[in-house]
Symmetry: C2
Amino acid sequence: MSEEARPAKNGKKADSTAYLFEQFRVGRGCLGYVVADRKGGIAAVVDPEAGMVEPMLDYVFEHALRLRYVVDTHTHADHFSGARELKAKTVAKVVMHEKAPASCVDFRIEDGDRLWLGALPLKFIHTPGHAKDLVSVLLPGRILSADALLIGSCGRTDLPNGNPTRQYHTLYYIYRSLPEELSVYPGHDYNDRTHSTLAEEKRSNPKMLFASEEEFVEYMERENPGKLSPVHQLADALKANMA
Amino acid sequence: MSEEARPAKNGKKADSTAYLFEQFRVGRGCLGYVVADRKGGIAAVVDPEAGMVEPMLDYVFEHALRLRYVVDTHTHADHFSGARELKAKTVAKVVMHEKAPASCVDFRIEDGDRLWLGALPLKFIHTPGHAKDLVSVLLPGRILSADALLIGSCGRTDLPNGNPTRQYHTLYYIYRSLPEELSVYPGHDYNDRTHSTLAEEKRSNPKMLFASEEEFVEYMERENPGKLSPVHQLADALKANMA
C-alpha cells in the first residue's frame, strides 16, 4: 500500500511521484488517501472512514506533515465519515462539494475549483450520479474517483441522491474525456486491488461500454434494487454524515 | 429562418423533423427558439429575448400550440429576457437551472433532467462557464447550445458568474463527447448564420482545439477583458434578469 515519494527523474514521469501519496483500507473495502506536497509537507486527507482516523493521524505525524484539508468526496451512505473527528483533532478544514448538507463543512467547492497543497494542485471535478454532491479529485497522474468509477464497475445509483442519467454523463462525458494514462484510485474495492488505469477502464469496464444512455439507465435501474445487497448501516451512516 | 415540420420519411432522419422547430432572431444577433410536439401541439420557447415575445406569441397562436414552458438557458447578461412577460401573458411555466436567481422561475432543473412536450423530450445538460446556471438543451438531432458553444467560438467567461475552467470542462468533456451529427443552434450569432453541426465545430472551432486546459484558460483570461467590447446594457440586463 505504501508508495513513498521518489525524486523526480524527468519531466513527465516526475509528476505523480513528486508528492506523498498513501492509500488506507479498512474492512468492507473502503479506501481513503493521504496526499501531501513533498516540499512544504502540506497535506490533505481524502475520504477518511472513521476507522482510518488514527492510522491517518499516525501517518501525518510520522511524516511531519501539516494537515490542512479533510476532503470528503461525497455524503457517504455506506460508512461513517471520519471528517468531523479529524477536524476536532487537528486544525484541518473540511472540504466538500457545495451540495453537501453536512454542517461541519468549512469550504464548499464546485466543479473546476482547485485547492493547493503548496505547489501541488487538487482539482475537483463534479461527477454526480452515485450521489449528487460527488466530486472526483484530480492529482498529477492520478484521479481519486470515489464511487464515480470503481475498478471494473461504478457506484450504484439507487441510494438517496443517486441518479443514473447523471452517472451516465459522469462516465460517458467526463471520464471518457480524461487522459488514458491517469491512474484510477477508487473509493472502494472489494477485491483487494489498489488501483487501475483509465485506459484499462475505458477498454474493459462494462459500465463504460453501454451503447446508449437509455440502455445504461435501464440496466442501472434494474440491477440496483434487484441484485445489489442492502447497504450496511445505510440510515445510520447517512444520518451521521449529513449532520 | 422557417423550418416547418416535415413528415418523417424513415427511422433515423425522422427525429429532428418530427417536431416543430422555429428560430427567432433580433438585433445584436440574439437567437431564440420555439419547439413543439407535432401531435399534441405542446410547446416550449427557449431564450425569448424581450423583442421576441410578440413574434413568438404570434407563432404559437398561428400554429395553435399550447405553450407550456418558457426556458431561459441562463441568466443573460447581454439582453433582456422576455420570460417574465411570456409568463404573464400565458399559462406557461418558467424553467431554469437550479442556480438561476430569478424569482419568476417555476421549475428549477439540474443536469440530466428532462421535460416532455408530449412525446418530445427536452434534455438539459449543465454546461457552465459562460454563466454558472447555463444549460444546453438537447433535442432529437439538435442541441440548443446557448453561449456554451457558438458557431466558431464560445461565450466569454469574464462576465459575472463566468469561469474559464468550467467552460473548458463544458467544451472538452461534454461537447466533445456528444454525437457529431447533432445540429448546433446557438444563443447568438453575429454573422447571420442559423446553425452549424457538432462535427464542424469539433473540426474547426478554435475554442475546441486548445492543447490543454492551461492554454485555454490563459487565452480566455487574456482575450476577454482585453479585446472584447463592453457588453450592451450589462448592469441593467443582469438586474432585470436576476430579479
